[in-house]
Symmetry: C2
DNA sequence: GTCATAATTGACATTGTTGTCATTTCTGAC
DNA sequence: GTCAGAAATGACAACAATGTCAATTATGAC
């Protein structure tokens, strides 16, 4: 409809910088509060944590549910940015180990996001479908086709891998995880895929120390 | 202090039968509400679900927290009763498979308890420490000592097993699990422990169909 | 059946939460 | 620097939840 010849920037509203800053602040505050108090949190808590009045909250989200909805893509984005998904290894087992290490390190580096993901189903599901863990599925399919993994990439196999990574992710944010622990988890998961124990240990150790 | 010679039953208060019934009802209602609404539930919801006034609730629990505390042993008990922990197999791999199958079936049979366990850390921890899953730890230690499991029973190994069983338990209550799925999960976990794929498949299948 | 005792109830005061909106304060393009 | 437009504020009404307690009802041992 517009026939304006002024540059695009004019469509930006007056307080747009502050607006996006405040929105960001609210989302981060929500992650903190949610990580601490769980789903029973109140809008007031989030606003207070963000350092704004609760009236401001409603300037950004119609209600609690709208906040929760916004939190899903926000979490996935934050997590994916940390996981850094470019992995160039060609060997499927090495790829598997590398992706897993990155996912666990992303969890340790975004503890609030991880904590909330463990509590909120919608976020957890989104991380599984769009997050780094989704890469594992095609990795498993490729590896099985190529004969590298004797285990077929069925639901049970996926459950074992995702379940183990979720629990290891929890340990990571609780500070109960170190490189040795991560190495063991990945070594065992490689065994699950049919890699012999000795080789699994070597690949896991290499991925962790890379 | 008491020197009474009357039979023990006299120490039971007048309304003790009703009291324990109501308490039971409240705990069950709490599991239902908690499974549905999560931690944000109100005392009123629980009372309503139990079919009593909210005043009655306070007759049994000082406040929400006291209810949560009571829920932990109640859940463990309910779960353990269903899991039926007597397993007489002597082979460690068979023991492992059998215990795992029972744990997953207990989850499917107490969906509310399982759902709540997935949400409430304290309950989850209690199930891991005192519930059927705790049996797995000594099972792993024994099996490794006996040379049946090549994998040592360290934290990483436990994480893989517990994480996988938790996720499989979730699938079970969501109705996304069947015998074939359970068989695969257990087969993979046996491989994690160092059992060769073919044997793992046979043991898992036998445990599931027993 | 009786009845002392205990469980249950719901009104109440209190406090916390939600969502709105007129007013005030701030932002940033010019 | 100006100032139109946007963001932020906090008082407010409506409502929901908490915890208490005096009055009421039900229990079960005899």
């Amino acid at each position: 409809m517009s026939t304006s010849i002024t540059p695009e920037t004019t469509v930006l509203s007056r307080g747009h910088k502050k607006r996006s800053r405040t929105r960001q602040t609210l989302l981060d505050a929500a992650l903190e509060v949610l990580a601490e108090s769980g789903e029973g949190f109140s809008v007031g808590e989030v606003a207070a944590r963000a350092g704004v009045s609760h009236g401001t909250f409603y300037n950004y989200f119609g209600d609690r549910d709208e906040l929760m909805d916004a939190l899903v893509p926000y979490s996935v984005e934050a997590f994916a940015a940390r996981a850094d998904l470019e992995v160039d290894a060609t060997d499927q087992a090495v790829r598997f180990a590398t992706i897993s290490v990155r996912a666990l390190r992303a969890a340790a580096g975004s503890p609030n996001t991880m904590r909330v993901a463990l509590r909120i189903d919608a976020i957890q599901r989104a991380l599984l479908i769009q997050g780094p863990l989704s890469y594992l599925h095609s990795n498993l399919v490729d590896g099985h086709k190529a004969g590298r993994f004797s285990s077929s990439p069925d639901e049970g196999t996926l459950d074992v891998i995702l379940g183990a990574l979720l629990l290891a992710g929890r340990r990571a944010i609780e500070g109960e995880s170190d490189d040795r622990h991560i190495t063991t988890v990945i070594e065992r998961l490689l065994m699950t895929l049919g890699i012999e124990a000795g080789e699994a240990g070597r690949i896991a150790a290499a991925a962790v120390s890379s």
